[in-house]
């Protein structure tokens, strides 16, 4: 671990205790989305479109409804028509993605759902729902979708962000543009210019737990929902919108979550469980199988990206021109906006144009995936930068150091950076033994860097002191990356009591104040700050109680090592245990709430060093060793910080080498299983070496930046650059599968 600033004497922050949720998870007691069973519960099954694009002419549910055990069959007509009601277009899209109304826009799009007494009955009934389609021509990629005369997904889609607005509809939902300086002048000053075009395929988040929801509706219109998500408050809001009810009528309880990576910030099943539950008066459970997860959830965008960059002989980037088109899937909302903002954010570039297009096509609607949008852009930009460094005979690390954004650099997307740790990550790579380890035959080394904003947003926390001096820390942020441990460590530090005396809890939507989703690497930052605020209120309260007990002024009492101490030692200290036991005589129970809108995010940077070995006869790329250096701000829980760093890299390696959605010509996904959607397995990977850099974020009480996402930004370029170093071919298409690498090698040999 590379620590750039001394740990200021923390007792708990920065330690590696056993995780609070570990026991329940290793013993199988933890309840995930699919584990809940209620008395009288029905099993649901969703009916999905077999077509990539089709008009729904009719849905006949009569046969399904008359089948044994079937209690409810629902279609799009059983939900309010939000478009007709004048709802916000993004809400209309959420509703129409949950269940199709007039048209199906991708293979796997929901058209109906059934609920029956047994799973088998539900499956049989789902097959008996008769849907008549008029199949329409479809578009699968940005190229097809942007072509003249391309069939339209949404007849009224007018491209936003273009002035004047186009008169004709298209599949381009919006355009983004960032520019500064004079491109022509910048390229004129360059001694080397490289221009390349890149394509990437949609990839899935690949969480191990399929989506699941149980809904139990009451006759008064209220309903309870249990689901696995990255934010049960958001699930409540979306579900209420789709059902046309007040969020207050829904109570959502977060199940344990088996991975999300952004893909569980959206709803799929919840309204489809509530509605049949209302019809049947019984709880309804819906669980996706893997095939459904692939066909209808996630993924992130396939893209086409063109990058042209120029550098002077001394390695200064003089100009950058980036053009990018991102698949949104069936509804507007690809992460091209974030891609445009992150693409060149690592560097201080005087002249640039970054132009991007959000393009709908007949694939599942994209969902957030770890630093959404940034990895594909970084693949393109960092590959071109690698080539430029070679052209001017400069080391890959050094060209990045020569252009690195620092405190005060005006980011390409607007603001000036506060204190950031990008340079420190580059230096951490240089200082690591991997940087100078000798390479073997057919081996190569690649460097790449990445940026991610990290998010703040809204969080709430409640802290209760129990009668024995232990504490319960309640938040509403589902724990997908170790946040319970981070909350407990910060609370232990603040209260001055042992980590083991803290119980962190994730509460339902009616038990704790509002929390935004667990996303944007924000929970340790924002929810953590709420926990710290609540603990500080507790400490103030405890000092006041001690002052009252001793009959002294508040400023005569300080809180040290979990006890109230008189500043002059005039009284024997009162421990939290003492004060808790006597709380009834000093003002009642000891608890505090804190809610906040985060006071300032800390941008995250990651630099990575990848060594590969390429089999020149088969095109197989093996990762030999891999180092990731990332600025955590402060690693509250170093085990989890390393876990996040390694996890991002591993997903990035999968994206780099083998993962891709494969569709047939009809737009039907051909590889909806982990057998043929090739995520890496454990034996594919070396241990991912981690170098935690700590340049504290001044806006957080412990300096936290957020660590969950930026680690996935550099790997594809790091792997591609390493492949180039090994066998001298420049890979511009993801995945860099054995087939593609061998094709490139064959072409190179000719």
């Amino acid at each position: 671990m590379a620590v750039t600033e001394e740990n200021p004497g923390y007792k708990w922050v920065g330690t590696r205790p056993i995780r609070p949720d570990g026991l329940e998870k290793v013993t199988g007691k933890a309840r995930f989305g699919a584990d809940l069973v209620l008395p009288g519960m029905l099993y649901g099954k969703v009916v999905r479109s077999p077509h990539a694009h089709a008009r729904i002419l009719s849905i006949d549910t009569s046969a399904a409804e008359s089948m044994e055990g079937v209690k409810a069959v629902i279609t799009g007509d059983d939900f309010p028509d939000l478009a007709a009601n004048g709802a916000h277009p993004s809400d209309v899209d959420v509703a129409n993605n949950t269940i199709a109304r007039d048209k199906v826009l991708y293979e796997g799009h929901v058209v109906a759902a059934v609920a029956a007494i047994t799973r088998e009955q539900a499956e049989a009934a789902a097959k008996a729902v008769e849907v008549t389609y008029e199949v329409l021509p479809h578009v699968l990629t940005v190229d097809e979708a942007m072509a003249d005369d391309a069939p339209l997904l949404h007849e009224g889609m007018i491209t936003k962000g273009v002035d004047p607005a186009p008169e004709e509809p298209s599949n381009i939902a919006s355009k983004i543009l960032h520019e500064r300086g004079d491109l022509e002048q910048g390229f004129g000053e360059a001694d080397a210019v490289v221009e390349r075009e890149f394509t990437t395929k949609p990839v899935h988040q690949g969480y191990i737990e399929p989506h699941a929801a149980v809904a139990d509706s009451n006759s008064d219109g209220r309903a309870n929902i249990w689901c696995s998500s990255q934010g049960h408050f958001q699930m409540r809001a979306y579900t209420a919108t789709v059902l046309g009810v007040s969020p207050g009528t829904l109570k959502v309880t977060a199940a344990e979550i088996g991975g999300g990576f952004g893909g569980k910030t959206v709803i799929y099943l919840e309204p489809l469980a509530v509605r049949p539950s209302q019809r049947a008066g019984r709880p309804v459970k819906l669980v996706m199988d893997r095939d459904e997860v692939f066909r209808a959830t996630g993924p992130t965008s396939g893209t086409r990206i063109k990058v042209k960059m120029g550098v002077s002989k001394d390695g200064k980037i003089t100009a950058a021109e980036v053009w990018m088109a991102y698949e949104a899937g069936a509804f507007a909302g690809s992460p091209v906006g974030a891609a445009g903002m992150t693409a060149i954010a690592c560097y201080d570039i005087p002249n640039f144009v970054v132009e991007g297009y959000d393009v709908v096509c007949n694939k599942p609607r994209v969902a957030a995936y770890r630093a959404p949008g940034a990895p594909m852009a970084a693949f393109a930009v960092e590959s071109v930068l690698d080539e430029l460094a070679r052209n001017i005979e400069m080391y890959a690390i050094d060209i990045r150091l020569a252009n690195a954004a620092v405190e005060g650099t005006q980011a390409a997307y607007g603001p000036k950076f506060p204190r950031i740790g990008f340079v420190e990550t580059l230096e951490a790579i240089k200082d690591h033994p991997n940087y100078t380890t000798e390479l073997g035959p057919n081996q190569g080394r690649g460097v790449a860097a990445g940026f991610w904003f990290n998010a703040g947003m809204m969080s709430s926390a409640t802290v209760h002191v129990n009668e024995n001096g232990t504490a319960t820390v309640v938040t509403g942020s589902p724990d997908i990356g170790g946040s319970r441990q981070s909350m407990a460590l910060m609370a232990a530090e603040e209260l001055g009591i042992p980590y083991e005396s803290i119980k962190p809890v994730v509460a339902d939507t009616e038990t704790v104040g509002f929390n935004d989703v667990t996303g944007g690497s924000r929970v340790t930052l924002a929810t953590g700050a709420a926990v710290v605020d609540a603990c500080r209120l507790i400490v103030e309260d405890l000092r006041a109680r001690a002052a009252k007990t001793w009959d002294v002024e508040l400023d005569q009492v300080e809180w040290v090592d979990g006890q109230a101490q008189h500043v002059e030692g005039a009284q024997p200290p009162l421990s939290l245990n003492d004060l808790a036991a006597k709380s009834g005589r000093t003002g009642g129970p000891i608890s505090a709430n804190a809610s906040l809108n985060s006071r300032g995010v800390g941008a995250g940077f990651s630099t990575q060093l990848c060594d590969v070995e390429v089999d020149p006869e088969t095109g197989v790329t093996r990762i030999v060793r891999y180092l990731t250096a990332q600025d955590a701000g402060r690693a509250i829980s170093p085990d989890y910080v390393e876990g996040q760093m390694q996890g991002g890299v591993v997903q990035g390696i999968g994206w780099a080498l083998n993962e891709e959605y494969i569709h047939d010509t009809e737009g039907v996904m051909e590889n909806p299983s982990f057998l043929d959607y090739r995520m890496p397995v454990a034996s594919d990977l070396p241990m991912i070496d981690c170098s935690i850099v700590e340049v504290p974020n001044p806006a957080h009480p412990y300096g936290v930046r957020g660590v969950g996402e930026v680690g996935i930004v550099p790997p594809m370029a790091a792997v591609g650059n390493a492949i180039h170093d090994a066998v001298n071919v420049r890979m511009t298409e993801l995945p860099m599968s054995p087939v593609k690498v061998l094709e490139a090698l064959n072409a190179h040999d000719e």
Binding site: E670, V739, N746
Partner: protein
């Protein structure tokens, strides 16, 4: 769908004769995923692994006998077997994963009739024989005669394989199996190559067998490559001829796992590499067993 687990070969064959649509299985590592993927359920599932002779591994002076339902982990963990047939043992050890190999079997791997079955090229080059039981007794088939196409075998509906016979590895002989997958495990062969050679006293190749998986509707022998090897010491020109013959003999498909061009090219590469490993092993097995 009913499940039954007969305890003798006779009981099993009579069950199969009485129920023509019955499906036999051993470890069920193919059958269960196929059923889950929507394949129509058979009326009767016949579990063969409760029959004693189907789960056994034994050797005598002339041959090894492997029960058709014997978990492949038994083979990979048997030192004597793995020493004598390292290629076949390695092929068995590539099926699925460690957990799968506690249930997967040579009989299942063969009769599932996938063109990509890992153990089949290694069995073919080792001249393995299948002892097939049916209502009228047993018959013996060469393993290469069992699979007739993807998902198709030459066995009748009321027949199943009881055991495999493998003649002892001759002196100065060795086998090998290599598989190309994009990952390191939990995948299906894009190309598989099994080889076996026997060396003459002068070190030249006296006999050679080469078989490829996943490049044609069934596992195929490559006679042109075998002929090219015999009488040589596998010099570079010979190996190039082997690779060319292997590529030429391929009749693969383009699919989500690989392209025709890729499979043809890599078939040649793996063929060459498998032959070299088999030769190295043959050189090390200078004496008898």
């Amino acid at each position: 769908m009913k499940y039954v687990a007969p305890s003798s070969v006779e009981e099993a064959t009579s069950l199969l004769s009485a129920s023509p649509s019955a499906q036999v299985f051993a470890g069920a590592t193919d059958v269960v995923p196929q059923l889950r993927a929507g394949r129509p359920a058979p009326e009767l599932l016949v579990d063969l692994k409760k029959i004693e002779e189907l789960v056994s591994l034994k050797s005598d002076d002339n041959k090894w006998t492997v029960g058709a339902a014997t978990p492949t982990a038994y083979l990979t963990e048997d030192e004597a077997f793995s020493h004598e047939f390292p290629g076949l043992s390695e092929a068995a050890g590539l099926i699925g994963s460690d957990q799968i190999q506690n249930r997967s079997s040579l009989g299942g791997n063969l009769c599932n009739a996938s063109p990509a079955a890992d153990s089949v090229p290694a069995m073919v080059v080792n001249g393995v024989r299948a002892v097939v039981a049916g209502p009228s007794g047993t018959r013996v088939l060469d393993v290469s005669e069992v699979v007739t196409g993807p998902g198709q075998t030459s066995l009748d509906d009321d027949e199943f394989i009881v055991e495999f016979e493998i003649d002892n590895m001759p002196a100065r002989s060795g086998d090998a199996y290599l598989r190309m997958i994009p990952r390191t495990e939990m995948d299906i062969a894009v190309v598989g190559a099994g080889a076996r050679v026997t060396l003459a006293d002068d070190g030249s190749i006296e006999q050679a067998a080469l078989a490829l998986a996943a490049v044609a509707p069934t596992v195929i022998r490559i006679p042109d490559a075998e002929d090219a090897l015999v009488g040589t010491t596998a010099d570079d020109a010979t190996l190039d001829a082997v690779a060319a013959a292997a590529s030429e003999a391929c009749d693969p498909i383009d699919d989500k796992r690989g392209t025709v061009a890729y499979r043809k090219q890599v078939a040649g590469v793996l063929a060459k590499r498998a032959v070299l490993i088999a030769i190295e092993r043959a050189e090390q097995r200078n004496g008898t067993n």
